[in-house]
Symmetry: C2
Subunit: 212 residues, 2 copies
DNA sequence: GTCTATATTAGGATAGAC
DNA sequence: GTCTATCCTAATATAGAC
């Protein structure tokens, strides 16, 4: 692996593990058993490293979100789809743990991040619209928009919230809880079988949790 | 006002305005037109200042939450109640903008903060239970618990989320949006008049927003 | 209580040899 | 590309005069 890539990889791991503010350029270099001078040869500091990591994140997330989906009605397909979105988020979770700080420090990222949040909202809107078209749920346009907003909030805030309220979960467990949280918003709008669906969802959730 | 209090007051204002990581002891001292040495006479650094501010927050929030409420069914009474909770949160919003960082840096605060989040969840549970007792809403225990969880998440994550998605709102506007967001979760569970309620809620929200 | 002056440290950053 | 050595700066912190 190229040195540049090794630096990015190690930085990401340290940021996720220790929190970005607690990791200095020296920490990164010494984790790689490399001199700080050498690190500075490849990146002029933390800023370009973080920006480069953000580029990776953006590319991968746009890729995930733009993947052609035929929005199935089956629980497990939708589950997987949201799981994958969260997985991408969790790969770069250091960013989410310090959102306000990082976005204000590197203000070009702010717009780009907002665009990604928006793309997630659109994706959720499409899923709910599909469910409505198939008469699986009954909801007004306003309700649908409120739900989609809440979904994008959950995607964005979940890592911080989850770590706060359940610090001991593994990453996959935290993600499954997030998916469940997002998914269970649909229950009250089901045209029929509300209780059965909720039970199905809960047991599916339990099943996924136990596997991780 | 005692110097100690002036320091606390100014620190809080600067933290909220600039973000805690961007404010140094020198910044605080110079804003107060006082020498850093003098500031250090009163507080040994940022850490005791932040802890002292947290004490204030905790006292006031417990006070708000333990106030005897008779959980009315009227929109405006519940609205005010949630508004007040948010107002307290917003008074110390610097804390919320950097939650993950601050709680890990001062780990004694972590437990205390969790306790407060818990108290908010309990308070929301009580409100929803009251609505259910009066047959205003129909929901299972599981649904009620999911909603209460979501409410406490919203209280906790709202400042960060709101600033991210709507950076130009005033604080009162951001709070009204938060209350609306929390409140509108009840709509799908209403036993009757779902549409009317949603409209009433929306117009009430619009009214409150316009006043600020 | 408040000041000035100064020490300490950590993190960010570069020059120059190899 | 990589190292060592060194510098700069901002932030924290303390000593001692007034």
């Amino acid at each position: 692996m190229k040195t540049k890539d090794r630096i990015l990889k190690t930085s990401l791991a340290l940021f996720n593990e220790e929190g970005e503010p607690n990791v200095s350029t020296v920490d990164i270099a010494s984790e790689l058993e490399m001199s700080p001078g050498n690190l500075y040869y490849h990146f002029k500091g933390k800023e370009p490293i973080i920006k480069s990591l953000y580029n990776d994140y953006e590319v991968e997330m746009l890729d995930v979100l733009s993947a052609p989906i035929n929005h199935p009605l089956r629980i497990d397909d939708n589950w997987i789809y949201m799981y994958i979105i969260f997985e991408e988020i969790y790969d770069f979770r250091f960013f989410y743990y310090n959102l306000a700080e990082l976005l204000s420090r590197y203000d070009t990222l702010s717009m780009r991040f907002t665009r990604l949040v928006d793309a997630k909202r659109k994706s959720m809107t499409a899923i709910y619209q599909h469910l409505r078209d198939q008469d699986v749920v009954v909801m007004s346009d306003e309700e649908l928009s409120v739900i989609a907003d809440r979904c994008s909030m959950m995607f964005t805030m979940w890592p911080t919230w989850s770590r706060l309220s359940n610090p001991n979960l593994t990453v996959p467990q935290a993600i499954h809880n997030g998916v469940y949280s997002i998914f269970s918003q649909v229950t009250p709008f089901l045209s029929a079988g509300r209780e059965e669906f909720q039970e199905l969802l809960a047991s599916f959730h339990a099943h996924m949790m136990s596997k991780t």
